[in-house]
C-alpha cells in the first residue's frame, strides 16, 4: 500500500491497517513533496497529539509531534521566524476543533503562510473512541451514526470560511483519503497558496467508527470544479450555482452543506494572496 519515497523515514507507522493516515502519508511523501521538489530540510511538519499526529516521525523532513491542540501555534512561530520553510501543521479533529479551537480564528486573520491539515476521522481515536466536535449527530432514529452526546457537531469548513470573511485571504479545502492523488493535489495547491490554508481531510476512523460511515462519505462525495455547477444535497432548497472558489459569499453558502449529506471535495475558497 505504501509508495517508496525518499521522503519516508524508516520508522514503521503505528496506525491500524486501513487507517486513512496512511493515505495522507502517501499523499505527502509520494506526491506533494516530490512534486513541489522542496528538499526535506526546508519542510517543517508540526503535529498535535492524536493518531494522525504521529505522522512527523514518518516523514523525512523536520518534524515535531508537539502538544494536543497546539500544532498551529508552533507552526506559525516557526514560519514567522524562518519564512523560507514550508510549514505544515497536521492534527486531528479534536486537536483543531476542540482543545485548539481558540487558535484558529487568529491564525486565519494573521494569515501566516502555513498549511493546516485536519485529519478529520470524526472521533477521538487515540484516546479510544470518545465523541469529537465533528462526530456526526443525528436525532434519535434518524440514522446510524449517533454521537454519545447529544450535541450537533461543529462544522469545521463553515467555521473556517466564516473566519476568512474578514480577510478574504485564506485557502479552504476539503479532501478525502479515499482519493490520494486528489488529496495530494489539494495539499500542493494549499502549500502554494501564499497565505493561511486549511484542509479538512475526511477519513472516518476505521476502528472506532462503523465501516459504513467511510463508505457513505466516499459514495456521496462530490467534486468541486471551477465554473461547473455545484451539487447540492436533495434536501437543499437552494438553486445550484457555478462553483467559483474566488467568491467568499458562494464559499459561505457552499460551506453550509452538511458534510454527511453532500461531502464537497475540492477547493471551497481560495482567497487573494499576499
Amino acid at each position: 500500500m505504501m509508495k517508496e519515497s525518499s521522503y519516508r523515514t524508516g520508522v514503521t507507522p503505528v496506525w491500524c491497517p486501513g487507517c486513512g493516515s496512511f493515505a495522507l502519508l502517501n499523499a505527502l511523501t509520494g506526491i506533494v513533496l516530490p512534486n513541489l521538489g522542496t528538499p526535506g530540510h526546508q519542510v517543517f511538519i508540526v503535529s498535535g497529539i492524536g493518531c494522525s499526529s504521529r505522522i512527523p516521525a514518518y516523514i523525512n523532513a523536520y518534524g515535531f509531534n508537539s502538544l494536543h491542540g497546539r500544532a498551529v501555534l508552533i507552526a506559525q512561530g516557526a514560519k514567522l521566524a524562518n519564512p523560507d520553510l514550508t510549514v505544515v501543521a497536521i492534527g486531528g479533529d479534536g486537536d483543531f476543533f476542540s482543545i485548539g479551537a481558540g487558535h484558529l480564528p487568529h491564525a486565519v486573520r494573521r494569515n501566516v503562510n502555513i498549511t493546516c491539515i485536519m485529519v478529520n476521522n470524526f472521533v477521538y481515536a487515540l484516546t479510544k473512541g470518545q465523541t469529537s466536535p465533528t462526530t456526526p449527530y443525528l436525532r434519535r432514529g434518524e440514522g446510524p451514526f449517533l454521537s454519545l452526546q447529544f450535541y450537533p457537531p461543529v462544522d469545521p469548513v463553515l467555521d473556517m470560511v466564516s473566519y476568512s470573511v474578514s480577510t478574504g485571504a485564506s485557502f479552504i479545502a476539503q479532501g478525502i483519503t479515499a482519493d490520494v492523488p486528489h488529496l495530494g493535489w489539494l495539499i500542493q495547491e494549499a502549500i502554494k497558496h501564499r497565505g493561511f490554508s486549511f484542509i479538512n481531510v475526511l477519513t472516518p476512523c476505521v476502528t472506532f467508527e462503523p465501516p459504513q460511515f467511510f463508505k457513505t462519505i466516499r459514495e456521496k462525495a462530490s467534486y468541486l470544479k471551477e465554473g461547473e455547477p455545484v451539487e447540492l444535497p436533495d434536501s437543499s432548497r437552494e438553486q445550484p450555482w457555478l462553483h467559483d472558489s474566488g467568491n467568499i459569499t458562494l464559499a459561505l453558502k457552499l460551506a453550509q452543506t452538511p458534510v454527511l449529506e453532500k461531502p464537497h471535495i475540492g477547493i471551497i475558497f481560495r482567497g487573494k494572496e499576499s
Binding site: 509531534n65 508537539s66 512561530g77
Partner: protein, 570 residues
C-alpha cells in the same frame, strides 16, 4: 544641603502625578542625580488613585526611607488610598492643593496649602497644568537647573509639555520665595554624567534585544505589558518576529516554534499567564527547546492585586508542571540585573537547551530608576546554541547522549540534519519510546545537563564581611530593602547578605553561604515562605533559622524589617 531626598506625590488619575514625577526624575537625572521612583495605582483606569515616591540621591539609586521628606498632594480622597505607600512623617514638608478632610489626616507641622490648581487655572485657563506648577516649586526647592534642555530627554514630548506650560512652571518657581527650606536642597551629584532613566520592564526588553532575541510573542497583562510593548517597537520593522498572541498558551507556543528554527525566542507575563504556559514549559523542558519566559510577579492567588508586587510565583517557577520537567529559574533584584540577567537567561537557555524563567516583580518592573548607563554598553558574552558540525551528515542524533548531556541542536532548515522530535518519551534519535530504560536515561540527561550551573558563582551576590556567622538570604526586589535596612541599621559588619540571582538549580555559592552561618534569616514577600522551604528542601539550614515572610501589596519598610534583623544580629 543633603545627599538624599524622598518626594511623594499623590492625586487622582487625571492629576498628572506620574508625569510630574517623571519630569522631576528625568530633570534630576540629566544633572547626574540617581533616583528611584515606584508607582502606585489602583483598579481604576481614569480618576483612580495615583502616586509616586521619588527618592533622589547624589551617589546611587537605592530604596527610599519609609516616610517622605516632601509630599505633594492633589487630592485627599485618593491620598487616603495611598497612605500605606506614602506615609507622612512628622518632619515631612507637605504641599497640598485643597483643604484636607476634617478627620483622618494628621497634617505635619510644616504643611502648606498651595493653590496649584488655582494658579494653573489663572495662567492657562484650565487646572491641567497644576502638576507643572508643582514641578516649578520642587525644582526650585531642590535647586535643580531651570530646564530639561541639557538632558537626554530634550526632544521628546515631556519637554514640549514644559515649553507649552512655561508660565505655569515659572509660577511654580516663584512660589518658592514664600517657602524657604534651605535644608531640603540637594548636594551636587557625585558625578555629573547624565543618568539613564528606565524601569525593570524596559531593561528586560533592552536586554533581550542586546542578546539577539529575534522573536517575541506576548499577551497583555499588568504589570508585564511594558515588556511586550517595547519589544513590539523594537522587533516590528523586519528585525524579527513579533505577535500579540490570542492568549498565553499561544504566546509561548509561538515562541517554541520560532526557537525550533534557531531564533532566540521569548515571552513575558505574570502569574495567571505563567499558569497557562505550564504545559508548554514542560514540553520545552522535555523536548529541550530553548525559550526565555519573564514573569513579572504580582499579588496572588488568582487575579489578586494586579498592580502590586508579591514574590509568590517562586514555587510555580521551580516546581510547576507535571512529570519532572527541569528548568532554570533566575531572579533579578535590581534594574541593572533585569538587563544583565535577561542576557544570561538567553545564554543559559540557548546553551543548555532548556526553558529559563526569569522572575521579576511589579515593583522591579514598574519602578523607574535613574542610574549609570554603563551597563547598557558593557561587553557581555553572548552564547549560541551548540549546533552539529559536518561530521553528523546522515547520522545526526538530535538527543545524542554526550558527555555533558547537551546534544547539538540543528535548526529547522539546516541541510543534512533533518530530525523529528516529539513530546513523547524519545530515544537519542528523537523517536518515540515506551521503554523504561530510555525514560530513565532521558530524565537523567535533562537533569544532569543543568548541574554545571551550580558553579555559576557570579549569579550569587554576597554583601558583608565573610567572617560574619549571621546572614540573610533574600531574592528579587525584596533584597534591595534588605540591603538598605542592614545599612540603615548599621549592621553591615555583623550580618552578611546573600542574594541569589540563580535560584534553581541551587548554586553552590548559596549553599556555602548558608553553610557558613550559625543564624540565618530568610526574607521574602509571600505568605508561605516559599524560598525558605525551597532552601530547606535542598540544604541543611542552621538550626537557628528564621523567616520573615508576608504577603505582598506593600513594599517592605525599614521599620518592619528592623525587628527580625536586629534579632538576627543580637
Amino acid at each position: 544641603m543633603r545627599d538624599r531626598l524622598t518626594i511623594g506625590i499623590a492625586g487622582a488619575g487625571g492629576d498628572g502625578v506620574v508625569v510630574l514625577g517623571s519630569l522631576l526624575q528625568r530633570l534630576a537625572a540629566s544633572q547626574g542625580y540617581f533616583s528611584q521612583m515606584p508607582r502606585y495605582y489602583g483598579p481604576q483606569i481614569r480618576g483612580g488613585a495615583s502616586g509616586v515616591k521619588l527618592s533622589l540621591d547624589t551617589t546611587r539609586a537605592s530604596v527610599s526611607g519609609d516616610t517622605v521628606d516632601i509630599m505633594v498632594c492633589f487630592n485627599w480622597e485618593k491620598y487616603a488610598e495611598l497612605e500605606q505607600e506614602l506615609p507622612l512623617g512628622i518632619n515631612t514638608v507637605l504641599f497640598y492643593d485643597n483643604a484636607p478632610p476634617k478627620k483622618g489626616i494628621n497634617l505635619p507641622e510644616r504643611s502648606f496649602q498651595v493653590g496649584f490648581s488655582e494658579i494653573s487655572k489663572e495662567l492657562t485657563g484650565t487646572t491641567a497644568a497644576k502638576n507643572i506648577v508643582a514641578l516649578g516649586l520642587l525644582e526650585r526647592i531642590l535647586a535643580l537647573p531651570e530646564n530639561l534642555s541639557k538632558g537626554a530627554t530634550a526632544q521628546d514630548h515631556a519637554s514640549a509639555l514644559l515649553e507649552r506650560n512655561g508660565l505655569a512652571l515659572n509660577a511654580g518657581k516663584r512660589l518658592l520665595l514664600e517657602f524657604p527650606f534651605a535644608e531640603l536642597k540637594l548636594s551636587p551629584p557625585w558625578d555629573a554624567s547624565v543618568k539613564v532613566v528606565l524601569h525593570g520592564n524596559a531593561a528586560v526588553a533592552q536586554g533581550a534585544i542586546r542578546s539577539g532575541c529575534r522573536a517575541f510573542f506576548g499577551y497583555p497583562i499588568t504589570p508585564a505589558s511594558e515588556i511586550m510593548q517595547e519589544m513590539q517597537e523594537r522587533l516590528n520593522h523586519g528585525n524579527g518576529a513579533f505577535l500579540q498572541a490570542e492568549d498565553e498558551i499561544a504566546a509561548v507556543g509561538l515562541a517554541l516554534g520560532a526557537s525550533l528554527t534557531g531564533a532566540k525566542s521569548m515571552t513575558a507575563t505574570t502569574g495567571p499567564g505563567l499558569d497557562l504556559m505550564t504545559e508548554m514549559i514542560g514540553l520545552a523542558s522535555g523536548a529541550e527547546i530553548p525559550v526565555v519566559i519573564v514573569d513579572v510577579q504580582r499579588c496572588g492567588p488568582a487575579t489578586g492585586i494586579p498592580s502590586k508586587s508579591e514574590q509568590s510565583d517562586l514555587n510555580h517557577a521551580i516546581y510547576g508542571g507535571h512529570g519532572d520537567a527541569p528548568r532554570v529559574v533566575i531572579a533579578a533584584y535590581d534594574v541593572e540585573g533585569c538587563y544583565r540577567l535577561l542576557i544570561e537567561s538567553f545564554n543559559i537557555s540557548e546553551y543548555y537547551q532548556t526553558p529559563v524563567i526569569l522572575l521579576s516583580d511589579q515593583w522591579l518592573g514598574q519602578t523607574t530608576v535613574a542610574i549609570d548607563g554603563n551597563f547598557l554598553t558593557r561587553d557581555y558574552s553572548v552564547c549560541q546554541r551548540r549546533r552539529p558540525g559536518g561530521e553528523y551528515q546522515e547520522q545526526y542524533r538530535r538527543y545524542e547522549l554526550t558527555e555533558d548531556s547537551i546534544s547539538p541542536m540543528a535548526f529547522a532548515g539546516d541541510e543534512g540534519l533533518v530530525y523529528q522530535a516529539t513530546g513523547l518519551t524519545h530515544n537519542e534519535k528523537g523517536r518515540p519510546s515506551f521503554d523504561f530504560a530510555t525514560q530513565q536515561r532521558m530524565h537523567e540527561k535533562r537533569w544532569q545537563k543543568l548541574a554545571p550551573l551550580r558553579g555559576k558563582d557570579e549569579l550569587v551576590e554576597v554583601f558583608g564581611t565573610e567572617e560574619a556567622r549571621r546572614g540573610i538570604v533574600a531574592f528579587g526586589s525584596s533584597a534591595q530593602f534588605v540591603l538598605k535596612t542592614v545599612e540603615d541599621l548599621g549592621l553591615q559588619h555583623r550580618l552578611k547578605v546573600c542574594i541569589p540571582e540563580l535560584i534553581h538549580p541551587l548554586p553552590d555559592k548559596l549553599a556555602s553561604f548558608v553553610g557558613s552561618l550559625e543564624k540565618l534569616l530568610v526574607v521574602e514577600m509571600n505568605y508561605s515562605a516559599q524560598l525558605h522551604h525551597y532552601l530547606r528542601s535542598q540544604l541543611d539550614l542552621p538550626s537557628d533559622t528564621e523567616t520573615y515572610a508576608r504577603a505582598g501589596g506593600l513594599a517592605f519598610t525599614r521599620k518592619e524589617l528592623s525587628g527580625p534583623m536586629t534579632k538576627l544580629a543580637r
